[in-house]
């Protein structure tokens, strides 16, 4: 299996001195669905921000064989689509169309290509016909779908999702999960939602204190109550 993301010895500290990541190494293969789970403040979101170069440190991240550095940023960002947790952060344009078109326009697509990419992405997430609506008048479930479309419109090979199901009602959550399952791309999901992880991912990485604790098949890890409760993912036994 070809490796699409390789992280080797990644360490990162925030300017206030807090060590968020300490010597993290992991690799993700083509077409995998990997979940990164761990308690609040474990450094999961910091890790995600490294995957498309928003945070960068000591050149420890490689995407499709290329090191993430200033020269490759533009290319990396078109390959790795990052969906943020709060769709209100992701949808900043006056209309849904503008939001979904933002990535393709920045990637230098022609006007025709941009329109096609937007139509295809909105179709994929089931939000066709919402082009001229404004982002803040949508329901949270709709916002999450459009946020996904804003990234899909760049046809990324790797989809990185931060808490895709947080605050959704069960109906919206399961319809989002089945939508994600149908997307033929490599997926990296950060979540506390073990139902989502069980339904979507076959591999799970447990993350705590800025380190990888274990990395294994979803079935094994999700059934290991002691491991989960030791890292704040299940009630204490």
């Amino acid at each position: 299996m070809a490796e699409v993301i390789t992280v080797e010895g990644l360490s990162f500290a925030y300017p206030d001195g807090q060590q968020a990541l300490a010597d993290v190494s992991l690799s993700i293969g083509q077409g995998e669905s990997v979940a990164i789970i761990g308690p609040n403040g474990a450094g999961k979101s910091t890790l995600l921000l490294h995957l498309n170069g928003i945070l960068r440190s000591n050149g420890a991240v490689r995407v499709l064989g290329r090191t993430v550095e200033d020269k490759s940023l533009r290319w990396v960002r078109s390959r790795v689509g990052l969906v943020f947790q709060d769709p209100d952060d992701q949808l900043f344009s006056p209309t849904v169309f503008d939001d979904v078109a933002f990535g393709p326009i920045n990637m230098g697509y022609s006007e025709n290509e941009v329109r096609q990419a937007v139509t295809r992405a909105l179709d994929w997430v089931g939000m066709k016909g919402y082009e001229l609506r404004s982002g803040h008048h949508l329901s949270l479930g709709e916002k999450k779908r459009v946020a996904l479309a804003t990234v899909l419109s760049m046809s990324p090979e790797i989809l990185v999702l931060d808490e895709p199901t947080s605050n959704l009602d069960p109906g919206a959550k399961w319809s989002l999960i089945s939508l994600l399952k149908g997307l033929p791309v490599t997926k990296v999901v950060v979540s506390h939602d073990l139902e989502l992880v069980g339904a979507l991912c076959h591999r799970v990485i447990v993350f705590d204190g800025g380190r990888v604790i274990t990395d294994g098949a979803a079935g094994d890890i999700l059934n290991d109550r002691r491991l989960l409760s030791a890292h704040g993912l299940a009630p204490k036994v």
Partner: protein
């Protein structure tokens, strides 16, 4: 939470709605310039402006009551600035009052200036309401951008419009959280709480700004704003723009004579 729209009625359809936003921006600006530059005693000119606005209003099918109600919003601001003019302007005295040690006198010319300022402000705000009620804000911003308004300012306005509701929601949540734990208390204490709320609102907006920027950067933003251009001038724009400009030029020539 439910909010009013700034550009309510802008999704209706009418002759005015279909015009290119650039046409509407330029003609509104022309009309306002004409209103502002008209000397105070030219009543026929003001009547003409009012008739123009009334005709546009009827053509646009925006409810008249809505426009009138919104136009009152500007009055407190204008009054706050202009209310003192009659007292300071020199001229024939219309009335004089003794209040304790002071003597206040109101001049005729001062009152005239005050009334004139109110009329100018009211006509200008009506034309702006007409502009925003018939143009979707997204289109208005595109129009501004195509008219060479600096892109940074267009982006700022677009973010302001997008996030003002998010911020209002956050402020409401803060207020509810305070009210549910607050049982009166001294005034100083309440003012301090309010100060803390404003501070925490500021920090939240600042952090949201950082997250939004990260979301932009993640989709290839590099500081340059790029947009598609969906705007097209049509013959109607030329007719509308030309005829309105002609009327305005005509009226100002008559004013000068």
């Amino acid at each position: 939470m439910k909010h009013g729209f700034l550009d309510k009625y802008s999704d209706r359809d009418s002759l005015i709605h279909r015009l290119d936003p650039r046409t509407k921006l330029i003609t509104s600006l022309l009309l306002i310039t004409a209103v502002v530059l008209t000397p105070p005693d030219r009543w026929p000119a003001y009547t003409l402006y009012l008739v123009i606005l009334a005709v546009l209003l009827i053509l646009s099918r925006v409810p008249v009551f809505y426009v009138l109600k919104r136009s009152l919003v500007i009055m407190p601001f204008v009054l706050m600035i202009a209310i003192f003019i009659p007292f300071f302007k020199e001229g024939e005295v219309a009335g004089s009052y003794n209040i304790w040690l002071w003597q206040l006198s109101v001049s005729h010319s001062g009152l005239q200036v005050l009334v004139n300022i109110l009329i100018k402000a009211w006509l200008s705000i009506i034309s702006l309401i007409l502009l925003t009620a018939t143009t979707r804000l997204a289109d208005l911003l595109k129009g501004l951008e195509r008219l060479r308004m600096p892109k940074v300012i267009v982006m700022l306005m677009s973010f302001m419009y997008r996030y003002i509701f998010v911020l209002v929601d956050e402020a409401m949540r803060l207020k509810q959280a305070r009210d549910s734990r607050s049982f009166g208390g001294k005034r100083l204490w309440r003012i301090r709480t309010l100060g803390n709320m404003i501070g925490s609102l500021f920090i939240r907006s600042y952090e949201r700004g950082e997250r939004v920027y990260a979301a932009m950067v993640a989709r290839g933003f590099d500081g340059r704003s790029r947009t598609l251009n969906p705007l097209h001038f049509r013959p109607a724009d030329a007719y509308f723009g030309l005829s309105l400009s002609l009327i305005l030029v005509f009226s100002s020539v008559i004013n000068l004579l």
